[in-house]
Structure formats: structure tokens, C-alpha cells
Symmetry: C2
Subunit: 357 residues, 2 copies
């Protein structure tokens, strides 16, 4: 942990007639959520993004699973607390944004073969969820293959549509998003600068954030084939299926330590094979979209949240890896607190940007 | 067979200073090949197509396998003679067009499992090709999976790039292709009209031609992974892999009795799964294109070639199903003969458009 992340910050114009001038670098879901929170709390905020209406962000590819248990079970221990805290904020965060596809039907985590069951068992046990048989699972989700052997129902693992979230945040921030590529933070004359540039944060700050490639397909068919999010293992391949109300089913995602944007034969094959093994009825669904995105990963795959250095003029909020959608509300709240009051919530302690240096 | 296909035709202006005025309806590979042959032989030819520079045609999707043996082994018996006759014309047809990707490396027909071997054995025997073991096949094509059990080498089953063929034919016919949608043949004032409109021939003529949907992917990687066309069976799934000199590999094709243009999860899965089962090294290839096309099928899946009726003013050349690329040269020659001399080659007898009525 660097000194910069805990030392008392310089006071800024909290409580003044006009709030502090804050620049947010990055118009993805993290940057927009922070900017919206800051605007809501009186700051004079501007978001900078090279393509403010673009679709290059990880949010555009992301399925939007909000899974505080599933994603974190064996990861960085402090991350679980942050994920859970953000999960608690989601209902009110979503309600303020309007229709963003927030759907609490929950997730069925399923395993196809005996080997898949063995692989999943540790996580299911960790989550303290009751094991369901194949026929119990098919009672809940009739489209599941008869070959599915076991699974669990995770009622707290829900979904939102990240594209709708970003659209709602953009609308809320209308007039405050500038089309501008920032190559040097000293260009900005704000009192505080928040760097929430995803993978681009690395070149702006020197912090160790790397792209983790994900290939994601979107299918479309008659609505109603699937009721729940399906998070499944099929012959050693992992896939999630996120059904939207309009008949779209998001199928994701590969995890590759690569920076390219190529859709590959092997990646698409693995996604489709696992999806069809688990839900054969998807075979006649149309493939409407194939996307490649990059999760911003850190060395421990937990985010970097806090002051960049002792000047306390630059705040980092990046490296959210697979949890950017889930962590948007808590990131927005804690970073806005830091910007407006200068004091760091104890939850932030484990996520200091300087912890790898 | 209708009387119209064999009765003596009205004489047309053969040998005149200016050749007969011929309208060709359809700017796909069949229409263009016929028009080019007619132009070459002195006719005053015009091609009509609603989108002359478009990519809706079956030729745009087709891989371009020229396989007189493989495609016809158990089909309409007269078709084999036509396929073989056209195969003999291809070398000179290609040479006149320039670089059209004509590649005589030949095809390896391979089978993954013992069941696949049993399924393929009848066709291999029919073709009188020597059975090769898996290791013999891998000597010829090192990228084949160690799981491939048996196969044959078919030296006469070669390839061409249909997109290059169409581009060369369009260039040859420059100034003679009109952007016009024909809904009624009586609109045209030519002495002879050739209907070569693929699936569109049905509505123009009332003939029983139906669309047979095919989904095809194009991959791209380092050139040289594959040396031969691979025509394979893998766990009951059929796939062909057509490698171009520039690193493109065409992966096809589904055969579906459907008219829609949807790429489906099941179709793409089946292609990729069979492709990767046979050639695992394709996994890292980029998917650069996914296309859906429609083969014009007839009730016996052999083409309809000849006069539409006794007036001898309308000639049909359609319904080539899976063999449109291979059959383009023989179709062009025989239809041009029919248009210019009025006499039908004996090869055409079995393909009279009226044979289903």
C-alpha cells in the first residue's frame, strides 16, 4: 500500500456554492458511474473519452451478470466484501436509471458430466447452496439438456443489461461528456482527475493493467426459452448464457491473455459447443452479434481504487477485470467520497493502486 | 421431357454481320459465363441483374470445389457425365479468365471415426480411389488430427475461387451488364432470353426451383497450414475446408431446406466442430466472414437446361444446386450453342426444364 492511499488529502472545495471541478478520463461504465455520482452530489464534472458514443468498451461486450458469490469464491479475499457491498447497492442504482434490464430471476449453475460436477462441487459448497439433481434443474429450466447431471440455484446472482446502463448514464450526464483523447493527464486543468480508462489506464498512469480478451456471442430466438441465467460447465468448457426479456441470449466468454481483437474459430467453437451441450434448443437461434472485448486485469485481478500518488490530485478507478458491471455502484460511491471528502472508506484499503509497486 | 426441348427451333440470325440480340437474366456465375461465351461468339448480349455488383449470389458464398466425382456419386446418373464434361473444360475456361485461384492440388477425403469410415467407404469405392491410412494421410497433410483414421486422395477434385471467377467475367462483360430487376420476361425485347436467375428463376418461369440454404465461414491464418482441399466426415458431421493461397480457409457448408438468411448457432457449431476435429490447428485462425447463401435446387437436384417452351425464345439455365461453379463452363458452352444454332447437344436431353411437368 502506498502512503498516498491513506494519508490525509488536501481539502478541496466541498460545500462551496459550486462543487469541485472534476475530470473523469474514460467513458465506460466505471467512468460514467463515477461521473454520475459526482454530478448528483454537486461536482462540476466532465467526462473525457476518445469515442463517447462508441462501443469499444468492455461494457459493450459484457453480459451483465451480477454474481457476487460466483465470481469471487476463490479469489482475492477482500474482493468478496467489495462485490457483496456493490451487489447491495444495485437495486437502488438500477431503480434510479430506469429500465436497464435489471432481472432478479437468478442463476442456475449447472454441470454436464460427472467430471464437470466434480469441478464445480468446491464452489457450490463454498457458496452453501443446496445441490439439485438434473431433474430438479429441468423442473426449474425445462430447456436444459437431459444430460445435465447436477447444479445449484443461486438466487442472488442476477443480471442487468450493461448497454442499457451505459445509455442511461450517458443520458443523465448529457452535456458533460467530451469527445477527446487524453494522452497526458497534465493536459487537464481540473482540481481532481479520475482515471477510469479501463485498459487505457496503463499508459496514462504506468499502473500494471493488462487486457484480458473475451469473445462473446449474442443469439436471438423466441423469448422464453430460458428463464434463468445459466452458468455452466460442459465437458470442461465453461459458458454462461444470459437470456434477455426480448429473446436475446448472451453467450460468453472466453478468457485469453491477449490484446488482439480477433474472433477465433476455437473461441467461437468452445462457446457454441458448451451452449448447445447444455441447452440444445439454442441450435436454431440466430447468431446476431459476435464481439471481442478486453477486461482490464490487474496482477491480482482486483481493481485499483484510490489516489495515484501523494499529490492527491489524481484518483484511479480501474482494473475491474470480470467484475466491472457488478462493481460500478460501489466504485462510484467510494470514489466520489474520496474525491469530495478526501477520506478513503476502509473498504478501499485493500485496493490501493500502489500495492504492486 | 417436353416437346419444346427437342423440336427444331426457329432459325435465328447466326452468321449475320451482327449476332443475335440476347438478354441474360441473372448476373451470377451461370448467367455471366453464358453471356461471356455468347459475347465471345459474336452475340449482342446484355445481362440484367437487380444488383450487378452485389454479393447476394450463391457464387459469393460457394467455396469453389470442382469435384465431378465426389458430388455426384449417388445422384442423378446423367449428372455425372455433365459434371465430368464440365471438369474437362475448366482448365481452358480458367486460363482465359486469368488468376481465378484455379488450384489442382486435389482433395483429401477423410473420415475421423470408424463410423465415419463406414459412411464414406461406399463413395470411396465408387470413385475407385485407394484407401489411405491415417499416417499416410498425415504424410500428405501434416495438419490433420491424429484421430483421422482413413481417407482417399482425389487428384481430380480441385478448386477455384468463385469470387475471382465472377470478377473476371464481369470485367470481360464490361458495359454489357445492366442494373435492372426483371419481374416479367415479356419486358425484354431480345430475340432470345436466357433465364439464369438461380433461385429467382422460379418466379420468372414457374419452374420448380427452391432455395437450399448453406452457411459458410471464412477463416484466416498463416498460409500453408493446409495443402489440399479437405472433404471430411467427423462424428457424423460433414465439412469441407478449402485453403486459398493467401491463408483464407473456406469452411462449409450446411444444407438446409430453408429460405431464410439467418446464421444459426447450430449451423456454425457443426461447421466449426467438424473443422476443428479434423484440423485442430485451425483453432487460432480468425473468423473473418460468415455468409449464408441459397443453392438453387430442383426436384432431382440436377439443373434445368433448355428451351422453356415451344416458342424457342426463352432458354433456361438454372437449378444447379451444389454444382453451379463446376458446371459453369459446360452450361455456358451448351446454352450458347442452343441460343446460336437452335440445336440441343445430346448432353442436354436429360436436363430439359419441362421434365417435372
Amino acid at each position: 500500500m502506498t502512503a498516498g492511499s491513506t494519508a490525509a488529502p488536501d481539502p478541496i472545495s466541498v460545500g462551496a456554492e459550486v462543487g469541485p471541478r472534476v475530470a473523469v478520463v474514460g467513458g465506460g461504465i466505471i467512468g460514467l458511474a463515477i461521473a454520475a455520482e459526482l454530478l448528483d452530489r454537486g461536482a462540476d464534472v466532465t467526462v473525457y473519452d476518445p469515442a463517447p458514443a462508441g462501443t469499444d468498451g468492455a461494457w459493450h461486450v459484457a453480459a451483465g451478470m451480477l454474481a457476487p458469490g460466483g465470481e469471487s469464491a476463490f479469489e482475492y479475499p477482500h474482493l468478496t466484501r467489495l462485490l457483496e457491498a456493490s451487489g447491495e447497492l444495485w437495486p437502488s442504482f438500477a431503480a434510479r436509471l430506469g429500465d436497464v434490464g435489471y432481472d432478479e430471476a437468478g442463476t442456475l449453475s449447472v454441470a454436464l458430466t460427472a467430471d464437470d460436477v466434480a469441478d464445480c462441487a468446491r464452489e457450490w459448497k463454498h457458496q452453501k447452496l443446496a445441490r439439485l439433481s438434473g431433474s430438479q434443474l429441468r423442473d426449474l429450466e425445462p430447456a436444459l439438456s437431459p444430460r445435465v447431471r447436477a447444479g445449484v440455484f443461486a438466487p442472488t446472482e442476477i443480471q442487468v443489461d450493461p448497454r442499457k446502463v451505459v445509455a442511461a448514464l450517458r443520458a443523465f450526464l448529457e452535456g458533460r461528456i467530451r469527445s477527446r483523447s487524453i494522452s497526458d493527464l497534465s493536459e487537464l486543468e481540473a482540481e481532481v482527475t479520475v482515471v477510469a480508462a479501463g485498459c487505457g489506464t496503463a499508459t496514462l498512469t504506468g499502473l500494471p493493467i493488462r487486457p484480458v480478451k473475451g469473445q462473446v456471442l449474442r443469439l436471438r430466438g423466441e423469448p422464453g426459452l430460458l428463464r434463468h441465467v445459466i452458468d455452466g460447465a460442459a465437458d470442461g468448457r465453461h459458458v454462461y448464457l444470459v437470456p434477455r426479456a426480448d429473446g436475446e441470449v448472451v453467450v460468453g466468454a472466453t478468457q485469453e491473455e491477449r490484446a488482439d481483437r480477433q474472433l477465433t474459430a476455437g473461441g467461437v467453437h468452445d462457446l457454441l459447443r458448451a451452449a448447445l451441450d447444455l441447452v440444445p434448443g439454442l441450435a436454431e437461434h440466430e447468431i446476431t452479434e459476435w464481439t471481442v472485448g478486453h477486461r482490464p486485469g490487474s496482477p491480482d485481478n482486483a481493481p485499483l481504487l484510490g489516489f495515484l500518488d501523494d499529490s492527491h490530485r489524481t484518483v484511479v478507478a480501474a482494473g475491474h477485470h470480470r467484475n466491472g458491471i457488478l462493481l460500478a455502484p460501489i466504485t462510484a460511491r467510494l470514489i466520489a467520497d474520496l474525491v469530495l471528502t478526501g477520506s478513503a472508506d476502509p473498504l478501499l484499503e485493500a485496493f490501493a493502486p500502489g500495492r504492486f509497486g
